[in-house]
């Protein structure tokens, strides 16, 4: 098993009611697998699969996650003005 730290922002954070959580996933899981696991657990996460970052770098849905990784799901960004 791989233990991940997961971060949520904006609409996701409000849908889940938490800024972050610890999640255990099977070895070999991908970023996309993690999102599907979360969607099953939190039906309020109705959005399409968002962008994601692993250890603070943008990652692909196929990116494999490892024990201790920091995963962030990134809703469409709207900084600046």
């Amino acid at each position: 098993m791989a233990t991940l730290r997961i971060y949520f922002f904006a609409t996701h954070r409000e849908a889940i009611g938490a800024r972050d959580m610890t999640l255990e996933v099977a070895d070999g899981s991908t970023v996309g697998d993690v999102w599907e696991t979360l969607r099953e657990r939190y039906p309020k996460l109705r959005t399409a699969r968002p962008a994601a970052a692993v250890n603070q770098e943008y990652a692909e849905p196929e990116t494999v996650v490892y024990d201790g990784d920091e995963i962030a799901f990134i809703p469409p960004v709207s900084g600046g003005v």
Partner: protein
């Protein structure tokens, strides 16, 4: 200087971070909170960020600018938390040898920031609120920002 902060932003501090003897131009951009959007009266905005990654991505934009406009130096400060009408949400300063590059590079910086930096804006108005969903960062690369620049000024490359 590439920072996310909940303190009010000061343009002089961002400009000082890029000041140097061989710069002939410093262009500063300030994004400020507007009192209306899409016909609605906005009460205030709330900005949220993923601070460590946002600072890294802003530094990456600084690197892209230095590569495209050699010698250019960039500083970006983005504020988070509750912002009132008229307050600055972001300040970008770019210094270059000559003015044309500083204008172009500063425009590039704000366009890239809006496309890829993990920051989110919630609009709050009387009786409601809404998270603005802008750009999906995965689909954005540098060429999109360059295309926008070239549309403004076909002479610059």
């Amino acid at each position: 200087m590439f920072i996310i902060t909940d303190e009010p932003l000061k343009a002089a501090e961002v400009e000082a971070a890029v000041a140097r003897p061989d710069a002939g131009a410093i262009v500063t951009f300030q994004g400020v909170v507007r009192d209306n959007n899409l016909g609605k009266q906005v009460s205030y905005l709330v900005y949220e960020a993923y601070p460590p990654m946002a600072e890294k991505v802003m530094a990456q934009i600084g690197d892209e600018i230095a590569e495209r406009w050699p010698g250019a130096q960039t500083a970006i400060a983005h504020r988070v938390g509750k912002l009132q009408i008229g307050e600055a949400s972001v300040i970008i300063a770019v210094s270059t040898g000559h003015r044309a590059d500083a204008f172009d590079a500063c425009r590039y910086a704000i366009d890239r920031l809006k496309a890829i930096v993990p920051v989110w804006k919630k609009e709050v108005w009387e009786g409601g609120e809404y998270w603005i969903e802008g750009s999906a960062p995965a689909s954005e690369d540098e060429s999109a920002a360059i295309e926008r620049l070239e549309k403004l000024d076909p002479g610059s490359s």
